[in-house]
């Protein structure tokens, strides 16, 4: 009962699953659609529209048993037909123009076995596929509705099987949902679920303070505002480790950072623990590789390099780096918190005799021009995180030769490692390789891993039973409001 209003920082513009990769699409659409699988805040993969699945043919075929008696919001029945339609659409022409298709290219085809059984034929085993089926492009859409209405219409009036059905949408303003009483998992507690798109953190917080919204979801709240929220007795901050990791990557090709000793020295020169404590208010954890603790492939045994300015100085001297040497750090201009972090880093570097200058860039220029073309300074910001929480997602893009995010390095040994884990269907074996990759990159000090940021939610006391989701994909079925 009651209405929950959520502040979300961005309007994805379309509610069609194949059109977008935006987290904030998922934070809303998770309530409208179901996937074959579901992954909740506890990160466990559980059955959803598929009640079970089997990996066949060494991982190149997966058979799903579908849930019976499920209907879409418009009354269409859910069945194998719908699944096939969904994936044909995603992998066909319609999906081609969107960004989601590339995530699912491992699927060759979907075969209907009977009304409630389908086989997915894969080109190659894809260890992350089951996770991917829990979100984004793999959300099941109603075949009849989706083929009858125009694409446009579908973008604006989504129909799924999820716990909430679509009521209205005003571009750039908000979207309203209501409880779908016939949901297979039971009707949600809330009667209405409204989202308002509020980009500006201070505005979202002001709305929260004045009761205009009940919940502010990531990535809205900057660290600097946490104390403001905590000062308000009716509000609280809830956080959980998130997907995003922050690092400064090195130019391993040119300049002083081509020397591994220098890279280690620079890492050791920075007191990351203090940074996390002081600047991030503890809402992050120091990392040793480019992944957080929730990531598949995280190795608790891998310790970050210690803060040791003495050793750093020694290493620098050994590498023949003269005190007063210059490095340039390229960052995104719009990331206020990381901006502070980098300023602190530059101060730490100064302590070991390295003069760091900071160069802000417009985000897209940095991401799509400066980094891919290898025109960065000695260090550059890399913040990264996929909702799949699979280290492969990060590692492959960052370390494999020729990848966009890897402009400087080319390491055949590392390439081989990265390629080797991809077809593995044995989770444990694959995890072992991922650990090895993490160790290997830490060894070579390819980047200065800094921290894994929490997903920070600000909640009004009206809201009960709220469990934060690390990936922002909140399914608000159990939440109640006073």
């Amino acid at each position: 009962q009651g209405t929950l209003t959520v502040s979300s920082p961005q309007d994805p513009g379309s509610w069609d699953p194949i059109d977008t990769f935006l987290v904030n699409w998922a934070s809303v659409a998770t309530n409208i659609y179901d996937g074959l699988t579901y992954r909740g805040p506890d990160m466990e993969l559980v059955p959803a529209l598929a009640t079970g699945w089997e990996e066949l043919d060494e991982g190149t075929r997966i058979r799903f048993t579908l849930r019976e008696g499920v209907t879409f919001h418009n009354g269409e029945p859910f069945n194998a037909e719908a699944v096939k339609f969904t994936f044909d659409r995603l992998l066909g022409d319609e999906g081609a123009a969107g960004p989601q298709q590339s995530n699912y290219t491992s699927i060759d085809s979907v075969e209907i076995i009977d009304d409630y059984t389908v086989d997915f034929h894969l080109g190659a085993p894809d260890p992350v596929l089951l996770t991917k089926l829990a979100g984004y492009g793999a959300m099941i859409v109603p075949p009849q509705y989706a083929s009858e209405v125009s694409e446009e219409e579908f973008n604006l009036n989504p129909v799924g099987t999820g716990p909430f059905s679509f009521v209205s949408y005003e571009p750039r303003i908000g979207i309203n949902l209501e409880a779908f009483e016939d949901h297979w998992g039971g009707a949600p507690q809330l009667a209405n679920l409204n989202y308002r798109f509020i980009t500006e953190p201070s505005t979202a917080v002001a709305e929260l303070q004045s009761g205009g919204v009940d919940l502010v979801i990531p990535p809205t709240i900057p660290i600097g505002m946490i104390s403001t929220i905590e000062q308000d007795p009716r509000l609280s901050v809830v956080s959980t480790p998130g997907p995003t990791v922050y690092s400064l990557r090195f130019n391993t090709r040119d300049g002083i950072t081509a020397d591994e000793r220098v890279r280690r020295a620079l890492i050791m020169a920075v007191d990351r623990d203090t940074i996390v404590e002081a600047i991030l208010g503890g809402e992050a954890s120091v990392i040793a590789s480019l992944q957080g603790e929730l990531s598949f492939g995280f190795d608790p045994a891998l310790e970050p390099l210690p803060y040791d300015p003495e050793a750093a100085r020694a290493l620098l001297a050994e590498a023949g780096v003269a005190p007063g040497s210059q490095v340039q750090i390229d960052i995104r201009g719009n990331d206020a918190t990381f901006n502070e972090v980098v300023q602190a880093i530059s101060a730490y570097l100064a302590q070991v005799g390295i003069t760091a200058s900071i160069q802000p860039y417009e985000t897209n220029v940095l991401l799509n021009d400066i980094i891919p073309q290898g025109r960065t300074g000695a260090m550059f910001q890399q913040s990264w995180g996929g909702w799949t929480f699979d280290y492969d997602n990060t590692a492959y893009s960052m370390y494999h030769s020729g990848e966009k995010w890897n402009p400087y390095d080319s390491d055949p040994e590392l390439d081989a490692l990265l390629e080797s884990q991809r077809p593995m269907t044995d989770r444990d074996a694959r995890e072992e390789v991922l650990h090895e990759i993490a160790r290997y990159t830490a060894e070579r000090a390819l980047e200065m891993p800094i921290y894994n940021l929490n997903a920070i939610y600000a909640v009004s006391d009206r809201v009960q039973n709220f469990v934060p989701a690390p990936d922002s994909r909140l399914r608000l079925t159990d939440v109640t409001v006073e």
Partner: protein, 307 residues
């Protein structure tokens, strides 16, 4: 006048063409939307990018793309956003009224505050009222608009709970954004009014107006004000043009769904169709405002010939 109008309309068309051409060219210079669209996801191959570009119509020759956008002005079909695929016309149809409403409201606030204050300051030149007005008007300028906006929100929404902190709903939601913008515009306008007023007040015809026994109000607001109107309307025209372009920060702070943030997001995402169309509409508006201002010169001051 008609000949003048005709000429100016031709020129306006030319301006719109040039603006859109520059925008189309400039935005293509700053990055590839296919990259932007996929920058969040891993495993993107060149083939994927090519596929996306094809889907977005980016493989067409530049001029074809450009003229397609331009044609939108006549068909009211501006294509679809790269992000999400919403009809651009839909976005503009919701953003433009929001921006216009806010622009008019802010201008109204600015005019209502600044003209009386500016005149007051000029009349009591050197006295305490003048000093007070001169100094306070600067406060609005020395702090950034987000600062002012946040202060207003703190006072009126959070502490007093009188006004909604954001969004565009009833008339109440206009108060704070219009006030924020108005105060900033006011700072300049007050001083502009004061400066020009000081000069006009020394004129012989003001003396004559007084000798007629006219009330001080009539002397100031009718006889003097009209004579300082030229710089004022020029500057207000510029301000209004700026407001039409949208004031990103203020729109953001008050979560106002206007053209400014629309354009801003479009630039950030290299969303060509949205950006080009928004700019096209904006340039039309701005050119019209400038035209109106130019026409107003002749109306306000008969000695200025419009041609």
């Amino acid at each position: 006048m008609t000949g003048f109008l005709f000429k100016r309309l031709l020129q306006a068309a030319f301006v719109v063409m040039v603006v859109t051409l520059i925008v189309a060219w400039a935005v293509r210079l700053t990055g590839d939307p296919a990259l932007m669209l996929t920058s969040g996801s891993a495993n993107v191959t060149e083939a994927d990018l090519a596929r996306i570009r094809e889907g977005l119509g980016l493989n067409e020759p530049f001029l074809v793309q450009y003229f397609n956008t331009l044609a939108g002005l006549f068909t009211w079909d501006f294509g679809r956003s790269f992000v999400g695929g919403t009809q651009v016309s839909l976005l503009i149809a919701s953003a433009l009224p929001a921006t216009l409403a806010l622009a008019f409201a802010s201008m109204a606030v600015a005019i209502l505050i600044s003209i009386p204050l500016g005149i007051r300051a000029a009349v009591s030149r050197g006295k305490w009222a003048d000093q007070l007005i001169r100094i306070t008007s600067l406060i609005g300028l020395s702090f950034p608009n987000f600062w002012l906006a946040t202060m207003l929100v703190l006072i009126f929404s959070i502490t007093l709970r009188w006004l909604p902190p954001s969004g565009m709903s009833g008339w109440q939601s206009f108060i704070m954004p219009a006030l924020t913008m108005g105060v900033i515009l006011t700072a300049t306008n007050v001083r502009l009014v004061r400066t020009t007023m000081l000069e006009v007040l020394q004129s012989q015809y003001i003396m004559v107006a007084r000798a007629k026994g006219l009330s001080e109000r009539t002397v100031l607001y009718k006889h003097a004000l009209r004579n300082c109107a030229i710089p004022l309307i020029t500057y207000m025209g510029l301000q209004f043009g700026g407001l039409l372009g949208g004031v990103v920060v203020v729109e953001r702070v008050f979560n106002w769904p206007g053209m400014g943030s629309l354009a801003f997001d479009a630039v950030a995402a290299r969303d060509y169709p949205v950006l080009q169309s928004v700019i096209m509409v904006l340039s039309l508006l701005i050119v019209s405002v400038n035209l109106l201002v130019d026409i107003a010169y002749g109306l306000v001051d008969p000695r200025i010939r419009t041609e």
